[in-house]
Structures are given as C-alpha cells and as structure tokens.
Symmetry: C2
Subunit: 432 residues, 2 copies
C-alpha cells in the first residue's frame, strides 16, 4: 500500500478516484442476450445456459428434493450461524417498518402514506468461487418482512446443474421455493420479461459480474426497478492513536480480498500508524488463500496521513465510502459528523465483517461514491410508499379556493374546474 | 372517449398499454450536449442558451433584485394560496421524518440507521406555457425539511431573459437564492457536472420535455441520482353508483389537459355512468382553454365497464396508475386493497387537483406503471439512510463465532480473520 503524507486538498479527488470500470465492450452483447430472451423466452434461456454455463437444462426450477438434500450437506455449525444471523437481520429490518400516520393538514383534509410491498421481486445470487448465501439472507429477509407476494431466486448452477448447498440450504431455511438454476445476463432478462418457466418480476436485486451489472442497468431503462447501481466494493478505515494496527490491517484485507478492483483506504492523523499498518498488512496477507486478489487490490489502495480530525472527516465525506470503520477513541462523536457513507462501524471491536454477515444491518450498500445520494438496501427497498388523502366537504370548502387560484395561475383550468364543480354542488346543497 | 364493456382479462394489458414515447431520436443529440458541457462548461451553456432558448446570457444567476421584483408582480390572492399550500406540504412531509431507533440485535450488538440529507440537490422547473411553481413547492419544501445544504434551481427564461414571476416569487418565498436561468438538457448537464457558474449537485429532481428526460436518464448512468424515471401523466377514476358524473368528468379532464400523451381511464361497474360521464366530458371540454390538448389525450383514453368491485381492483392493480380516484361509497374499504398506485384520492370530495397543489401530499409521482416498484417523491428522496453499528467486546464474543463460520463457508478468510484477531486479543486480555 502506498503511503501519502498530507496531500493537498485540491489533489484529493484525483487521489481517491475509483478504479474506472469500462463495461462498454459488453454492452452490445448484453443487449443481444436480452432481446433474444424477450423474443424466444425459454428457448433462448436454454441456449445461453448451454453456451455460458456449460449446463444442459431440462428444467430450470430447483426441486423440493434438491432443497432437502442440501440440508444434509451443510455442517451444523454453519446452520447455527445462519440461524443467528437471520434472527439479527430480521430484528434490525423489522425495526424499519413504518406505520401509517394520518395527518390532518387542515380541518377536513387528511393525508397519510402506507408502505405496500412490491408484489414480485427477483433476487440474483452469483455462483462461482464464493457461494454468497449471506447475500441471500440480506435480500430475502427484508423481502419477506415487507410482505412481497412472490420471491424469485436465480442462481447459476455448475456444469453438472448443481447449486451450492449453502445457498440452497439458506433458501430452504427461509422457506423460498421459487428457485431457478440460471445465471448471468440471461437470468436478469428472464426475470425482467418473464418466460414460460420464469415469472416476470417488478424489481431485481443482487450482485453479479459485468454482464449481470450491464443487464440490470439495461432493464432498469425499460421499467424494471433495480436495487442499486453497481460498483466495486470499498472500505475506508479511520484511526487515531488508540487503534490496533493488526485490527486495521485485518479490516483492510477483508475488503481487498473481495476482488482486484476493490478499493481500500486508511486515513489517520497518527504518524506511527502508517508503517505499523503497512507492515501488518504484509504479514497477514502472506497467509491468505485469496492473497493474489488482495495484493492486486492493494496496489491501488492508499494509506493517508492528514493533519487532524476535521480534515479526515472532510476527506471521508468527499469520498463517500461504502463501508467506513471508525477505529477511534470516541467513535460516536465522529459518527455524528459523517454525511456520506453506506454503513458505519464504530469502535475497535466492530469489524466490517460483522455487518457483512450477522450483526443485523444490510450488506448491500452504495459503492462508487453513490453514498452521496443513495441508501443501502433496507425494508424500504421492498415497498412502495403510497400516499392517500381524503377530504370532507368542509375540508374542500377551506382548501378549494387555494387550489382554484393556483391552478388558474398555472393556466390549468380543468384542474380548477375539478374543485369549482364540487364547491358549487356543496353550496347548492346549502341552499336546498 | 371510447367505451369498452366487459373486456376479457387477457386483453387488459393491451387495452391499457401506455402511449409509447419514442425518444431515441433525441438520444445522440442530448449525449452531444452533455459531453460538450462537461468539456466546455459555461462557454457551452451560453452557446446552448442562445441556440435553444434564444437567450443571450451574460450571467445565469438570478439577482436578489429580480426576486424582489417578482413580489410586486404576483397577486395577493395567489400569495395567500401559496402560503397555505406550503404550510400543508410542510406538515405532511414533516410527518415523514424518521428518528434513529437503536436496536440491540444481540447483547452488545447495537445497530441503528439515521437519515442524513443529500448535501446538494438540483431542482429543474420547466418554463414554457405553464409556469409550474407548484412543482417548485413540491420539491423545495422536502429538500429544506430534509436539511439539504445547497438547493440549486434551474429554470429556462424567455428570450428576454425573464423567468415567470410566479416561479421567482415562490422561490423567494421559500428563501431559495441559487436560481439560474438555464433550461433543457443543458441545465441538467450543468447541474450534473458543475461549471464555473453552476454548482455540481448529487441528485436532480423535476419534470421536463423529452430532452430534459433524456439528459436525466443519461446522467443517472454516470453517478448522479435522479428522482424518478419519467413518463406521461395519468389518472384512473373508479366509481360506483353513488358517484357524480360531472365530478368524474372534471377529474378526467384535469388529467387530459396536461398533455396530448396523458392517459385517462374511467372504470366502473355501474352501466348508467358510462354515457353520463362521456356526455359530461364533452360538455365540460367545450369551455376549456386547453381543449385541443385534452381532446387529443382523450382519443387514447378509455371508459371501461367491469363486472364488480373485485375485477375493478384487479384491473387497477395491474395498471398501477399514477393517480387513482376512488369515487365510491366506502373508499376506505377499496383503499385497503390498492397495491399499485402513486397517490390515492378517497371519496367524492377529493379531486386530484387538491393533491396536485395544496392538500399536503407530493405531486411528483411514478407514472407509466412504475408505481409497481417506485414511490413518489417524499422526504425520503432528499436523504440517505445510513446504517451504523457498534459492538462491544462482549458483543463480539457472542456474535463473532457466527461471522467466522459464515466467512469461512464463503471462502473469505480475511473476513474471518478480522473477527478472529479481535477475539484473540479479547481472550488474551482475559488471561493477563
């Protein structure tokens, strides 16, 4: 990791620029895949499964027997951990439930809003080397709490048509049963348009490779909602002299091992930590199975020394990290000043991996600086908040004249009439 | 308006298809405008102002004197109406504020989330025939309640460089002072990238023509958030035999006058209302200033007779109207069953125009069927919900082992280490 001492403020933006992902090459290919699926449905799906996943699909749907079988393949201690993580995720997301509050903005004018579940949602869980059953917990649990009527899960099988037991077990544990063995851009297309065997969904969630990302981006322009724009994962660790260099190094590495495009930033005003952390990173890196990936990620990652707390906060807020660890003595004070971040971890005993798996918060978060305007996935992501209003005759008598004047000032006379005609009727009734 | 009696369910989707807007022709042009603004900044802005708005800009910023002058140009009764509308919009949006709730998901594991304002937002208000000061109320009030630090307003001037007094007055009334005379795609580009005179924003709100819509769509792919995907405005009115045909007609027309691509749907199970409403529409249409626009919109609008309440609800939920009026005897019962709609108006004395202007709800709503997965603009649109967590040593002792097991099962050993290294230290301390 490169150490930068006291960078000038006007260099920060360049210094902290995210690795640019150029997906433009895949765009046309993904567009073809999507339009082919829209036209040919299952036929196209089978073709792509063969071509991209090497899987000859008879039937995409996972059987009940397969789900049950996964039960015997997952070790008990993992089952216990999943149960505990699920309970924490449930209780935190449950707390996000919003009850309708009826507001009488004027006498006789009552407004409220109600959270109503998105009826059908699609979850995409990548296969490949790391079977991300944790992401399944993070997406399916709030979908269930929100009350989504149908939850469709797509995940790619290996060549033999087998899905990771940990993913299948988690799905079965949560009671999901619409599980399909499809991966890549074709899975996104199938859920966006629907085919004979895959239901069409209203919103698609989940991470994936560049083709999945591009497909989500493209269908989002066609009326299907998506969770978040995608970008590489990242963490910023902030530390003061009370921090433990070994803990910081472990946190930096836990982000770096995600992928070669992960970004990892360590910022401090404590000079002695610079070398101490760098050495710890080197030491711990040596024993990691994914050390090659992590090493590459660390090449574009930085250790930054700044003057003081104020400067550090300014840099963090301008960077807007997906994950932010505050390894400082008074983390609550720092947290108060955080304006842009996906999820914040306070203190020396709160590693990011706690939130990645099991503490209760969601791990699907805004990357790439999107934390300046986007929130992570939460219960909100699985509902629409519909507004309602009911006005009494008396209420309209009070409110109506304002509406008439404003509509007229906008030259929208039919808008005015919709009030006037009612007020005339109300007044007529008075004279009866 | 065309009357359709008892359409078969498998024809509904085609019957209720939205008018297709083909914007593809403008795409390349807007891409050029945006990249030109990104490169040349104010120079490009001035060029486009001259070319598209016929306005020779010396300076884009509206002066304090101009804002004050608007004060004398707006009639008192409009000022009173705006004051009342603003108060209602404030009190409804204020009620959407969410306070942090600290949840101890396990002993020593504390999670919460906090709403933090989007720091800088850009509001676009179109000029042209209808000066939409109501949209300015709907966007600026929640932005202020949320605590956005900077609110930038762009609106196109006429050729003489003059902005509608109603818009300027409203801006002044709300205390906005960063107002710029810029319109079209170039305004969106200026706010997305920033120029020497226009600040860069994190999120852009507001309606506009096809170029504005395309520009918002394009910058949203480049990291700037936007409020909602755009589509033509629409209303569905549902009525039973207690409804007043004149009220229904007025509501249908108030939507039809928005634009020739507006869609207006009337659904009932009460046969006599079909002709009665059609006749009322014709009668009221005759005296409208915008009758040509409304007439064209009505050409692709429908009056539909269905069997019963259940069928009507099914059709409405599959159509997902932006606005839904329930002109029925027991609107609360119906409202309970609404799954997809932007905003719902209950009863005979609740016209859509009340919500368009002054009752308190927001009028920036999901069109085009997006109500199946998107919410309208609310206080939420101006904040990010950041999650926080703090774990004590004791909390990590309880939670940590689950994290270790799960990380290992996902082959992410650095994730596991971030917990293990802390647990070792905690245990070491015990032995000291």
């Amino acid at each position: 990791m490169k150490i930068i001492r006291f960078p000038k403020k006007d260099t920060w933006e360049t210094l902290l620029a995210r690795p640019l992902l150029d997906f433009s090459q895949g765009e046309a290919r993904v567009r073809d895949v999507l339009s082919h699926i829209k036209q040919k449905g299952d036929l196209a799906l089978k073709e792509y499964s063969r071509k991209f996943d090497g899987y000859e699909a008879e039937n995409f749907r996972v059987s009940e027997a397969e789900i049950l079988a996964a039960n015997t393949l997952v070790p008990e201690k993992l089952k216990t951990a999943i149960t505990q993580a699920a309970a924490n995720i449930q209780s935190f997301h449950q707390s996000q439930q919003e009850l309708p509050r009826r507001i009488e903005t004027m006498p006789g004018v009552i407004c409220w809003r109600k959270s109503v579940p998105v009826s059908t949602v699609g979850l995409y869980i990548p296969g490949g080397t790391a079977p991300l059953f944790s992401t399944l917990l993070m997406l399916a649990i709030p979908a269930q709490l929100a009350g989504c009527r149908k939850i469709v899960l797509c995940t790619p099988p290996g060549k033999a048509g087998i899905i990771s037991p940990a993913i299948l077990y988690t799905a079965g544990f949560l009671g999901l049963n619409e599980i399909y063995k499809i991966g890549g851009a074709q899975a996104i297309g199938a859920m966006a348009y629907g085919t004979a065997s895959i239901p069409r969904v209203n919103k698609i969630f989940g991470p994936g490779n560049q083709y999945v990302t591009l497909a989500k981006q493209q269908v989002s322009q066609q009326g299907v909602a998506i969770d978040l724009p995608a970008g590489p994962s990242e963490v910023a660790v902030v530390a003061d002299r009370t921090a433990n260099p070994a803990f910081i190094a472990a946190d930096l590495l836990s982000q770096a091992e995600h992928g070669t495009d992960s970004q990892v930033i360590f910022v401090t005003d404590c000079e002695p930590l610079l070398e101490a952390v760098r050495e710890e990173v080197e030491d711990q890196l040596a024993s990691l199975p994914r050390k090659e990936i992590a090493r590459e990620a660390l090449q574009h990652s930085l250790i930054i020394l700044l003057e003081n707390k104020m400067q550090i906060l300014e840099m963090i807020n301008s960077y807007a990290p997906e994950h932010l660890i505050l390894a400082v003595q008074n983390p609550e004070e720092w947290a108060e000043k955080i304006e842009n971040a996906g999820s914040v971890f306070l203190g020396h005993y709160t590693p990011e991996s706690a939130g990645d798996y099991a503490s209760g918060t969601n791990h699907t978060l805004p990357t790439n600086g999107y934390a300046k305007a986007y929130s992570g996935v939460s219960l909100d992501s699985f509902v629409k908040k519909i507004t309602f209003q009911q006005i009494t005759g008396e209420g309209l008598r009070r409110l109506g004249p304002s509406v008439e004047v404003m509509a007229e000032a906008e030259d929208l006379f039919a808008h005015r009439n919709a009030v006037s005609i009612r007020l005339e009727t109300l007044n007529g009734k008075n004279h009866e």
